[in-house]
Amino acid sequence: MKQLKYLLAGCLLLSATLVSAASLQLQLQPDPANPAHPTMGDWMHFDSVITNSGQQPIEGLVAWISLVEVTPGKEQPMDLEDWSAHKAVTGTTLQPGATLNTQWPMRLIQNGDYRVVISTTDRNNKTVFTSPTLQFHVTQKPVVESTRILPVALGIPLLIGGLFGVQKFRHQHKVS
């Protein structure tokens, strides 16, 4: 009898999890205006659609974007600090059947292979729902070149500093 109770409780818990797991659907698409061959410095936008497919309203919804580098040998989660100022949508309530459309802008800071994914959770559920991932490649771009800047930025002050030193030496020599 006790075993039957545990089995029943287990079934109830499993069914609750399944209902909960099925209550949010996430879609993620690259924006059609995105560059075909993204380069460092370009902007890309990702469009997500979060649908409440359950019977209950979802309150306190939080959705966030994550970026992972998958360049061979450099696999790592990325800090979005420089990449995006729009990292999350918070506190939204979704009625049954309602959808939340969000556009996620992102500036491509570094070259490499990346995957982007949207995750959501809400105030009452412990489950985290994730969208399908999107993968893209960012190609290298010649940026402000240190090989040109360094000799100028260090050389000119050094040259003037040298002239300053010569003047000072001459002045001291003259005085003495």
């Binding site: 800047i149 100028v152 930025a153 002050p157 000072k168």
Partner: protein
């Protein structure tokens, strides 16, 4: 060689052959170097479009040039007074007008040196990008009246004020106020007050021209209004300096 030319030569060479002048030049180069190094040390800044970087460098050159011009202008009369050389200068067979012309041309020569010094920096940040030639041309055309105007304003204050410090502080306050668009950016100035200030501020005129010709590749004709503004600024400030220098304060 007449008296004005002699004074101009002395003033100009003071920037290269005098420890005080070399220290100012070192400070000027330091500002440009710090900005250039910031561009390569910050990943997000390093991704800026070349034209945007050249525009920012042109603005920085104008601001740093105006700063040195203000220091030199403040020293022109008040410095001579503090070193005890103003009275001998005024009693020499040279008119006050010739003295002013000598100092004004000397300041222009010093700006010429600063302008030449800025060229490697512009090349370093902008080679391979668009409109580097335009940047160099418009920095000369618009930067020169703005920088010299601030120098002449400081010269006018220096001739009348009691010390280098007081004329320098007053000129710096005017310069900081005028150069504020460099920090605010065009977006924040897009209000009635911002637009009104832009219309009368020569520094804004030069910056907006740099923006228009370097980033947006606008034609020369569309910049005529701003050119008139910066030339007016130069003319008025030279006139004010001339009036002040007629009777410089001796003590």
């Amino acid at each position: 060689m007449n008296a004005s030319s002699l004074i101009a030569k002395k003033e100009r060479s003071a920037l290269l052959q005098n420890q005080r002048g070399l220290a100012w030049l070192l400070a000027y180069a330091g500002i440009l170097s710090a900005f250039a190094l910031l561009l390569i040390s910050n990943q997000e800044l390093s991704l800026l479009d070349n034209a945007q970087v050249v525009y920012m460098m042109a603005g920085t050159v104008t601001a740093a040039g105006a700063l040195i011009a203000v220091i030199m202008g403040s020293d022109a009369y008040a410095g001579e007074r503090e070193r005890g050389t103003l009275v001998p200068l005024l009693t020499a067979p040279i008119s006050t007008n010739e003295l002013l012309m000598g100092k004004a041309i000397g300041l222009a020569g010093a700006w010429g040196i600063m302008y030449l010094l800025a060229l490697p920096y512009l090349w370093a940040v902008g080679a391979g990008g668009q409109n580097l030639g335009q940047a160099i041309f418009y920095l000369g055309l618009f930067g020169t009246p703005v920088v010299l105007g601030f120098g002449y304003l400081a010269m006018a204050l220096s001739a009348r004020s009691g010390s280098v410090m007081s004329s320098l502080l007053t000129s710096l306050i005017v310069l900081l106020f005028s150069a504020s668009p460099l920090l605010l950016g065009p977006g924040l100035r897009n209000s009635a007050v911002g637009r009104a200030l832009d219309a009368i501020n020569p520094f804004s005129g030069a910056l907006n021209t740099y923006d228009a010709v370097i980033i947006d590749s606008d034609p020369f004709m569309s910049q005529l209004g701003r050119l008139v503004l910066v030339l007016l600024w130069l003319g008025i400030m030279f006139g004010v300096a001339r009036l002040s220098a007629r009777r410089p304060a001796i003590r």
